[in-house]
């Protein structure tokens, strides 16, 4: 009988030890016809779900997956493979690994033999003594550390066996009939001799011998990559690695015949692998997920409770009576939920959201199920489902039986409160964060691979810097050439090849940003749990995909800056205008708000403030909520790559006939796409539509569609998405669709791969777009103030936010010791409007506690600098910063004189003897007036301290200079004739290089406004230095007026004129020109740093 099971397989989830993906190993094992494959990674179960999923994809394979772990000990015990026989034993293995992880720092696991003996019940144990004779000494220090942190009851060496014989004996007394001695034939020269020796040891101990190849990779070719990852792990180059590397390429999956040849003297050891596999009944299928039952009151079922609170909520939401449509939808949804047995999921999310509401923390749900009537009446979302017509069951496929996906965004500054509440309510043994598998990306891969090949830092930096964006899948020759290296150079080529193989390899586990896994039973009997870097945070070993695969529940508790901003704005409006709003009560569908958005007046508005969005607004001209949903979704890689944007716009404006592609006659309903695409004029824009296309037009089965959805969801599977390409396009064409349409649809799906954007997400986001736009429209001062107080967030620097507020007639007032608080605040003007008072948080280097001290000591105000110093006792440094920031204006002294006066205040580290003397004892002094500070220097100093100036724009001082060169202001560019030649200069606000297109978008700002510059890829290389380095940029080019009055200056020549800024102050000029002077760090940032995205 030719049967073999490979029991000792290490995947690349044993980070930098295994050199193959679980999928590759599973596929190879299946090809080789193995009976079973045992995945056992080093002290982890992180890779088993991938293997499980890979096996499921191999429909009809007879291969069995055995789930286990390779226990690596810190007390000198040789490695032991542990395989649970049943669900209970699996729980023990998880507990064992969790215990080891909890006493170790993040990413480590400290185990001793005693831990194993404690949890061995039901585990099959294979002892794998080192093949190399040089056994490592136990690392005492590690272990001691573990003891200190871990459970105190760890008499580590009580059972510590001196040799293999006694180890086997010890294990056998604890776990009789569950011990094996694993042996491999690694071609070390003495294989046969060792086999005989171990055979004897095994016989003496009455323990069966088990054949394995101790696999590290799926095929012999992977030896090279294995060498590379070994070097990365050991921080050596290949030349230095020597015996750290394996001597040969033998540790790959081998066929039954190969194994038989190797073990011809001990064929029973091969047969034993099958007996071993047969003992195991556990499979990941048995992990049955239970919802926590906290939110359900005693005596009620989850369905009843959900039913009750949903109808209560509906009464509340629709105070004027529940519309029939809602009533019907709600009944339908509740029925479906009951049928799918997912009521507890909604209750759990509702539970978390209710807590946030009770604490006045804004939150909003999104995700496939979030835009249901149920979620609306439960208060999980504020998007009225009547406003947007989403079919609940479209996203809840009954066949899949997966829990729905709801992400909840919370205010970013207060999310921690929500998280702590979850821990408190469900307990740390039942709630933990999901993991995120951090994988090698092109940049990190080439950097580390380059090091291994001995390339210098300079060369690898060069290579990795030529990779724009970090998500690309492979390094191309063109990128190598861009790094000024020869792709034909053997060393470079090898490094690139290794890097390409390395891309997508897991590197380490990190905690997911907010995905909580909650269970009813102990979570650590379901999956090992370990500590995160953050204190008191724990995360499991599986990531989002794994959790999906196993159908466990996850609630994403995410942080969203805009919610913080909106809540702060609501607070300000309540405090200053006495009106209360929340996400659901802001007046809806206000035409003035849409009018504002149509003009692309959207600085600070959620989502639609980016360059691309801003240029879309006037073309799309949103007039209602659903238009915003489209606006949010359309400027995404999916629709753009699928070339769906222009057709949509043309059809919307009536320039193109709306038609629905249909299959050839006789191939089915000719209107089959009308249902799918009618909302978007026949152009697929949303991820759901693309999926639906696959099912309706390409006739994908539910399973195939599911596979496509998975391939789409994760960039790692960029390779796998191509498997669907031929199927998708081929079937559509076969059914009579045009090749071009099919290809575009698929391109779009590929685009969704990197940033999927479903309609339901867009709807939730659109709601926040509307609300932030509404606040901006009606409460511009509160909006700007809240935005500034929620920084860092959004797209624009404070200078732009303040400038935009002033353009909307908000009076902005400078930071002042007599009026400002830490946060920016609003002040009532005499005419009843609100003015924005900048707060100390805008001042670089100032501290929150100083601001508090200042506010509490203020009483009736300060009238001199000395009074400030005396009352607040702030350190001199704080006073100097205040003076530098010109925040003594209300004391009405010149900035220079204040600075000069502040410096006179004695230093902080006063001798105690003189402490009493302090400030008041200083005699007045008669001094000559200082030279007047020119306005330009004031502005520059403002920029240095606050990154903005209310006094003037920097460009104002250079206008004459540029005027003489024929440079137009930004405002003039925006009104210039289409196609005219123009020059424009300004401070660079943003530069973006979206996607791989190579186009650079830059925004210039001057005293009259902003101008949008486009640089085509050809020019980017020529003017790279100017584009990347200029703070003040002069662009020569042609004005291009697009649809909806979008004006671009298409660059033809670009100049870096940053040096002109030095003209503004002799000061700066000197400090930059004088080569020996050591500049104060504050001087370096002459103007606000522009934000770069690439």
């Amino acid at each position: 009988m030719s049967a073999y099971a490979e029991i000792a397989v290490t995947t690349n989830y044993s980070f930098l030890r295994g050199a193959s993906h679980p999928k590759e190993l599973i596929e190879t094992a299946a090809q080789l016809g193995h009976t079973a494959i045992g995945i056992a990674d080093r002290n982890t179960l992180a890779g088993v779900v991938r293997a499980y999923a890979a096996l499921k994809e191999l429909n009809g394979s007879t291969l069995r997956l055995l789930v286990g772990a390779r226990l690596v000990f810190t007390d000198g015990t040789p490695d032991i493979l542990a395989y649970p026989t049943d669900r209970a034993a699996y729980g023990h293995l998880c507990r064992l690994l969790s215990a080891g992880k909890l006493r170790a720092p993040k990413g480590e696991c400290y185990l001793a033999l005693d831990d194993l003996l404690k949890w061995q019940d039901g585990l099959l144990l294979v002892v794998l003594p080192q093949n190399n004779e040089e056994q490592k000494e136990p690392e005492a220090s590690f272990w001691n550390k573990g003891l200190i942190q871990g459970e105190a009851s760890n008499p580590s060496s009580k059972h510590f066996p001196r040799d293999l014989n006694s180890l086997l004996a010890t294990l056998r007394t604890h776990a009789p009939t569950r011990i094996w001695l694993g042996v491999s034939m690694p071609h070390h020269g003495d294989d046969q001799r060792r086999l005989r020796a171990w055979q004897k040891i095994a016989d003496d101990a009455d323990v069966p011998l088990l054949a394995t190849n101790d696999v590290l990779y799926h095929c012999a070719k992977r030896r090279e990559l294995h060498n590379v990852v070994t070097c990365i792990r050991e921080h050596v180059t290949l030349n230095e690695a020597g015996h750290l590397l394996e001597a040969n390429a033998e540790r790959h999956l081998k066929s039954f015949n190969e194994m038989k040849a190797l073990f011809h003297e001990a064929l029973d050891a091969i047969a034993e692998t099958i007996r071993f596999a047969d003992r195991i009944t556990f499979s990941l299928d048995q992990l049955k997920y239970n919802y926590p039952d906290e939110p359900i009151p005693k005596g009620k079922t989850a369905e009843q409770h959900l039913h009750d609170i949903a109808w209560q909520g509906a009464e509340f939401r629709y105070a004027g009576g529940i519309p029939d449509k809602v009533r019907a939808a709600l009944e339908k949804e509740l029925a479906l939920i009951a049928k799918m047995e997912i009521a507890p999921y909604f209750l759990t999310v509702h539970d978390i959201v209710s807590f946030a509401k009770s604490q006045n923390i804004l939150c909003q749900g999104r995700g496939s199920a979030a835009n249901s009537v149920v979620c609306y009446v439960l208060g999980i979302t504020a998007v009225d489902p009547m406003q947007i017509d989403l079919l609940f069951e479209r996203f809840m496929s009954e066949e899949r039986k997966e829990p729905p996906d709801i992400d909840v965004d919370f205010e970013h500054e207060r999310r921690e409160e929500v998280i702590q509440n979850i821990y408190a309510r469900y307990g740390r043994h039942r709630a933990a964060l999901a993991a995120t598998v951090i994988c090698y990306r092109p940049r990190s891969a080439i950097r580390e691979a380059g090091k291994v090949f001995g390339l210098t830092d300079d060369v690898t930096a060069n290579l990795s810097s030529s990779v724009w964006g970090s998500w690309g899948s492979q390094l191309k020759d063109s990128q190598v050439r861009q790094g000024r290296l020869d792709p034909a150079n053997l060393l470079v080529a090898r490094a690139v090849k290794a890097a390409n193989e390395l891309i997508g390899f897991p590197r380490h586990l990190s905690q997911h940003v907010g995905g909580f896994v909650l269970t009813q039973d102990r979570l650590d009997e379901c999956v090992p749990v370990g500590p995160a870097t953050m204190k008191d945070r724990f995360f499991i070993e599986w990531d989002k995909d794994d959790i999906d695969t196993l159908r466990m529940m996850k609630v994403d508790v995410l942080a969203l800056g805009m919610l913080t901003c909106i809540r702060k704005a609501f607070d300000l409006i309540r405090a200053h205008e006495g009106k209360s709003y929340d996400l659901a009560t802001v007046p809806r569908e206000d035409p003035a708000v849409y009018e504002m958005l149509q003009k692309a007046d959207a600085v600070g508005v959620f989502q639609v403030e980016s360059r691309a969005q801003m240029s879309m607004l006037p073309r799309l001209k949103p007039v209602n909520f659903y238009d915003l949903v489209i606006e949010v979704a359309i400027v995404r890689p999916g629709p753009i790559q699928g070339d769906m944007v222009h057709p949509y716009l043309r059809r919307r404006s009536g320039k193109e006939k709306i038609d629905y592609p249909s299959p050839a006659p006789g191939m089915g309903n000719k209107d089959e796409l009308r249902d799918v695409l009618s909302k978007t004029f026949g152009v697929p824009l949303f991820q759901e539509q693309a999926m639906k296309l696959a099912i309706v037009a390409a006739k994908f089965s539910a399973d195939e569609a599911n596979g496509l959805r998975r391939a789409m969801a994760t960039f790692r599977n960029v390779g796998t998405i191509n498997n669907f390409k031929d199927k998708f396009i081929g079937r559509m064409v076969a059914r009579g669709y045009e090749q071009d349409f099919a290809e575009r649809c698929f391109k779009q799906i590929e685009g969704f791969g990197s940033y999927g954007f479903p309609e339901s997400h867009a709807a939730s986001f659109a709601h926040l777009v509307y609300i932030s736009a509404w606040i901006k429209k009606y409460h511009p001062a509160a909006f700007a103030c809240a935005l500034l107080n929620s920084q860092p967030m959004g797209f624009y620097a404070p200078a732009e936010i303040v400038r935009d507020a002033r353009e909307h007639d908000v009076d902005a007032r400078h930071v002042d010791v007599n009026f400002s608080a830490w946060d920016n605040t609003l002040e009532l003007c005499t005419d009843g409007t609100l003015a924005l008072r900048l707060g100390f948080r805008q001042v670089s280097g100032f501290r929150e506690d100083w601001a508090k001290t200042l506010a509490t000591c203020r009483s009736n105000g300060f009238d001199t600098v000395n009074v400030v110093a005396r009352r607040t006792k702030l350190p001199k440094r704080a006073l100097i910063i205040l003076a530098e920031a010109d925040s003594f204006q209300s004391i009405s002294m010149d900035r220079r004189e204040i600075l000069w006066a502040v410096r006179r205040i004695p230093d902080d580290d006063e001798l105690p003897l003189f402490a009493a003397r302090y400030v008041e004892e200083q005699l007045d002094e008669e001094i000559a007036p200082l030279p007047l500070m020119p306005l330009s220097e004031h502005v520059l100093a403002d920029y240095q301290m606050l990154r903005l100036s209310l006094k003037a724009h920097l460009m104002f001082f250079l206008r004459d200079l540029f005027r003489s060169e024929g440079v137009m202001s930004c405002a003039e560019i925006n009104t210039a004739r289409n196609g005219s030649k123009a020059k424009c200069a300004g401070i660079v606000l943003t530069r973006q290089m979206p996607g791989d297109a190579g186009v650079v978008f830059a925004t210039l700002s001057d005293e009259e406004g902003v101008a949008n510059v486009v640089v085509w890829p050809k020019l980017v290389e020529t003017f790279r230095r100017e584009i990347m380095g200029a703070r003040l940029m002069l662009v020569e080019g042609r004005v291009q007026r697009g649809e909806g009055d979008v004006v671009h200056l298409v660059a033809e020549r670009i100049f870096d004129r940053s040096h002109e800024l030095h003209r503004l102050s002799e000061d700066e000029m000197q400090s930059l020109v004088a080569h020996t002077s050591h500049r104060h760090p504050r001087d370096v940032r002459t103007v606000p740093k522009s934000r770069d995205f690439h």
Binding site: E133, A247, E884, W900, A928, G1029, L1072
Partner: protein, 470 residues
């Protein structure tokens, strides 16, 4: 071209050449930024020790003008030329002379001469080449920007923010006003800049020198006397070295001939040494080896023995352990041989970590061989036969297997009686352009009891003998 150094955890430009400055690069800019602007940028890592070394060398050279030469920061030299300028034709001439000589050596420099160090430093930077007579510093300094005072960044910033942008503007403020705000140090610097008080410059410390010399009333010429003299000097030097816990790595003997000519001879040791016996024998060997003999002419009137390069050496403990002494003997042998034949010709083996048997060692100059961190790999386990032979053939020799049991090597027919293996060793793929086949090594014993280390090329199935077990 730019130099880069690690600062605040990022590679930043630490120096930029003229062309780079013209292209807008500045000191302190992160390298990543600069590279984004100019992908073709030539980048060299800054080497502060090398810069310092060069500056020290220049300072050494300047010793000819005045004994008071001071290093002033990483890029400046201060020379106190009080009372020596006339020796070089006056101040202006001297300054020009220094400038011309250094420029002739390919160095770019700025320089000025003034009554105080602060003034000279400032003027060198802003008015290259001037000579300011004592008492005229104030006039010269007043128009210069405040940066000329070389105060710390915060103080300079404070002065500029106050609108006091030239030295003159600062000087016109009241002393009490400046004192209260900027402290006494600033006032001192200001005073010095204006020619008020001058601080003496602190000259470079001479490096700790260990040397002994002997004068002779009558010039000596015979080899015996010279050798005897060197020996006694070595004894004296050893005492000083021992007192300081030092040992010499390089020694130089300087022979001053009566007619003014100087001959220098040096010896080098692999380990710090102060044993007069060793020193003596090494010099003896070196003198004997000289191709042009030490020509005493009319004889030497001064012989000096200097320890040019010293290292810490612990007290010698007489060790009865023969192995340690053995090591010392070997070191001495190496030194002697190196003295005769040159350091690069006396080599030692060191282990090299690789699986490839014939590459498991490298040779390095024995005198400079650091104790290798690697250990020689054990080729045998306890109570076990060696896994590979002690000696390998320089070139593996092909053998023919007629049957599995019979092979021919060096034309002799051999019969295999025992065999163990294979030990598969894959080649180091990263060294080869085309993939190389792995080798399967076998330990083989023939019917005469001879043991061989055979291998089979796994691609061609050719057999080779790589070595024989002794």
């Amino acid at each position: 071209m730019v130099l880069v150094a690690k600062l605040d955890n990022a590679l930043r430009l630490s120096a930029v050449d003229r062309k780079a400055t013209a292209l807008g690069l500045t000191i302190g800019q992160p390298l990543a930024n600069a590279r984004a602007m100019l992908p073709a940028l030539k980048v060299v890592a800054a080497n502060d020790p090398a810069d310092l070394k060069l500056l020290t060398q220049i300072a050494d050279w300047c010793d000819r003008f005045t004994p008071y030469v001071a290093l002033d920061g990483p890029r400046h030299l201060l020379l106190d030329v009080t009372g020596v300028a006339h020796l070089f034709g006056g101040e202006q001439t001297m300054l020009d002379h220094i400038r011309n000589s250094l420029q002739a050596q390919g160095l770019a420099l700025r320089g000025a001469l003034a009554g105080t160090a602060v003034a000279a430093r400032a003027l060198a930077r802003y008015r290259d080449g001037v000579v300011i007579a004592s008492g005229e510093e104030e006039q010269a300094m007043r128009p210069l920007p405040v940066e000329a005072l070389n105060l710390d960044g915060l103080t300079t910033h404070a002065l500029r923010r106050a609108g006091l942008k030239t030295v003159g503007q600062v000087a016109s403020r009241k002393r009490s006003e400046l004192m209260a705000r900027l402290g006494a140090v600033t006032l001192d610097v200001l005073d010095e800049a204006l020619g008020g008080s001058a601080k003496p410059i602190s000259s470079r410390k001479p490096p700790p020198d260990y040397w002994q010399e002997q004068n002779f009333a009558e010039p000596v010429a015979t080899e015996e006397v010279i050798r005897f003299t060197l020996k006694s000097l070595a004894v004296a030097l050893a005492k000083i070295l021992e007192l300081h816990g030092q040992g010499a790595r390089r020694l130089e003997a300087v022979f001053f001939r009566a007619d003014g000519a100087v001959r220098r001879i040096d010896i080098e040791m692999g380990a710090p040494t102060r044993d007069p016996l060793i020193i003596d024998r090494l010099f003896h060997a070196k003198l004997a080896m000289l191709s042009d003999p030490l020509d005493p002419g009319f004889g030497f009137d001064l012989i000096r023995l200097c320890a040019v390069h010293v290292e810490r050496a612990s007290l010698e403990i007489i060790n009865l352990n023969a192995r340690v002494n053995e090591r010392a003997e070997i070191n001495f042998l190496i030194d002697r041989l190196a003295t005769c034949f040159g350091s690069h010709r006396i080599l030692a083996f060191q282990p090299y970590d690789t699986h490839i048997p014939e590459k498991a060692w490298v040779t390095v100059p024995a005198q400079h061989a650091q104790a290798s961190k690697l250990l020689w790999r054990k080729i045998r386990k306890a109570k076990d036969a060696p896994r590979c032979p002690l000696r390998l053939f320089a070139r593996a020799e092909p053998v023919d297997f007629s049957t599995a049991q019979h092979f021919v090597w060096r034309k002799v027919h051999r019969v295999v009686t025992q065999c163990e293996g294979p030990e598969r060793i894959a080649m180091e793929w990263w060294h080869h352009e085309t993939p190389q086949a792995a080798r399967d090594y076998f330990r083989v014993e023939d019917n005469e009891g001879k043991r061989y280390w055979l291998y089979r090329n796994t691609a061609t199935s050719q057999w080779f003998v790589h070595g024989v077990f002794a």
